[in-house]
């Protein structure tokens, strides 16, 4: 569980986060949604320790990050898995080497044991047979799956995903969403996903934080999304005609 309390962050005098309070629950897919510039990425980077908040605190399983010693911070980074928007796979390494990388950096096990774990994770994300391929030789959806495999290979406690299905076709995007949700439950981890994709919100939104202009404007889950009367949320989520129709149908009980 990650708890954000009264989080403030400004850049060159401009306040980007204006007192965010939210609990990202363990074993659930926690979504951060909002328009571009609403502060989602800054919030994520604060949680990853890449930005230092100006005010407020971030607690990892009850312990504030500001109270972590250097060794504890190092340990925490080993418990974090991250799926980047573009995958961020290392171009010069094969699929197998990419997944092996965090294990090689942080464990002292024999190569055989490490390879066994790599195979296990690649199998979990349905990537058997692609071990020797380079990122440039596989599709965008496969790259995302490699990225997920690399993020979970060290059995992290926290999984962060920055728009994991951007640039993917709807079917592949749903596969990726479901894979992340399954892994979250299977590993009982705290998963935090930044997304613009309303399909994801309706598919895997177990705990949703909606940011607007640096403020937490709404929180809830995928079922509450249909019922909310909050105009800022409905404006954002039901901006497309398709979703407006879906909502109307839902409200009418179809």
């Amino acid at each position: 569980m990650i708890e954000v309390k009264n989080l403030h962050k400004a850049f060159e005098g401009e306040e980007v986060l204006k007192g965010i309070d939210f609990v990202f629950e363990r074993g659930k897919t926690n979504l951060i949604i909002g328009q571009s510039g609403s502060g989602k990425s800054v919030l994520l980077k604060c949680m990853l320790g890449l930005f230092v908040p100006d005010q407020g605190s971030i607690e990892y399983d009850g312990k504030p990050f500001s109270e972590f010693s250097e060794d504890e911070k190092k340990d925490l980074s080993k418990q974090i898995g991250m799926v980047f928007q573009g995958g961020a796979l290392f171009d010069s390494m094969t699929v197998e080497e990419n997944v092996l990388f965090p294990l090689r950096m942080f464990t002292k096990q024999s190569r055989n044991k490490l390879m066994k774990r790599v195979q296990e994770v690649l199998k979990r994300v349905n990537l058997e047979g692609s071990e020797k391929k380079y990122p440039s030789e596989i599709s965008g959806g496969m790259q995302k799956r490699v990225s997920i495999a690399r993020a979970i290979v060290n059995r992290p406690k926290y999984l962060f995903c920055d728009e994991p299905n951007s640039g993917l076709d709807p079917k592949t995007a749903t596969v990726i969403d479901n894979l992340i949700q399954e892994i979250t439950r299977e590993y009982d981890i705290t998963t935090i996903i930044i997304t613009h994709d309303m399909n994801s919100v309706l598919e895997i939104g177990e705990n949703i934080a909606f940011l607007k202009d640096g403020v937490l404007a709404w929180k809830g889950n995928k079922d509450m999304v249909f019922k909310t009367e909050d105009e800022s949320v409905t404006d954002f989520i039901y901006s497309s005609k398709l979703f407006k129709k879906v909502r109307t149908a839902q409200l009418k009980g179809y």
């Binding site: 990853l48 190092k74 974090i80 928007q85 961020a88 090689r104 950096m105 942080f106």
Partner: protein
């Protein structure tokens, strides 16, 4: 102010490069890979350039020695001095700023724009150490490239001077040995080590701190070549002033 900011940022980068170390076994593999990418792959072009430039230096010196009172051995002497003192260490380093420097900037720059550096940081890895330290260590073998360049430059001069009929083989060897000062080799290798460090770190700085996309990676490579060359030339002047004057 921008220049001052960049200089400060460069030195802070160096602090990071020698900061928290990457796991030794991983670092060892990276160093060997960098030696292959930066040094071994450059030997061919360095050998080719050195041989022919050595030859051209010998021919031009011979063609300008029209006074019969000046001994022909001077062709070898001039070729040796030009190759050891300037051509091999400085001229080859400028060429390497284009070849190796652009490679370093574009490879780190591409990692930057595709969030691979962020991925390293999130994993708790000191990305500066992981990416740049192996390059600095690999470039410690750069003086071997310069030694090869010196040797082939003189072989080129010998070939051009003797086969061109400008000097006899004995006179060339005699000229090569005339007034040889071993300190000139020390001077050449001292500056080669400094150039090696510059070649590894200045392009890395331009790649690591670049912002933007693919177009900016190309621009960063060009800027990196210009600045690496400028720093090499200025360092060459300072070292020459300190060691030879």
């Amino acid at each position: 102010m921008n220049y001052l900011h960049s200089i400060g940022e460069y030195f802070l980068m160096l602090k990071g490069v020698f900061g928290r170390m990457t796991k030794r076994s991983v670092l060892k593999d990276l160093i060997f890979k960098e030696i292959d990418d930066l040094i071994i792959s450059s030997i061919g072009i360095v050998a080719f350039l050195s041989f022919f430039i050595g030859g051209v230096v010998a021919i031009q010196t011979a063609l300008n020695l029209t006074n019969p009172l000046i001994p022909k051995t001077l062709v070898a002497y001039a070729a040796r001095q030009s190759v050891i003192l300037e051509f091999a260490p400085t001229f080859i380093s400028i060429i390497m700023a284009g070849k190796v420097g652009s490679y370093i900037t574009s490879s780190i720059g591409s990692m930057n724009v595709t969030e691979q550096i962020d991925a390293l940081e999130v994993m708790g890895i000191n990305s500066l150490n992981y990416l740049i330290f192996p390059k600095v260590i690999a470039m410690l073998t750069y003086p071997f490239v310069i030694a090869i360049s010196m040797f082939l430059g003189i072989v080129g001069a010998y070939t051009a001077a003797v086969l061109g009929g400008f000097v006899g083989p004995d006179a060339f060897i005699e000229g090569l040995q005339n007034d040889f000062d071993p300190f000139h080799l020390t001077y050449a290798f001292v500056k080669t080590f400094l150039f090696a460090f510059i070649l590894a770190t200045v392009p890395a700085y331009h790649g690591y701190y670049m912002k933007g996309g693919a177009l900016e990676v190309g621009q960063a490579s060009t800027t990196s070549f210009v600045w690496t060359s400028v720093v090499i030339i200025v360092t060459n002047y300072i070292v020459t002033q300190l060691l030879l004057s």
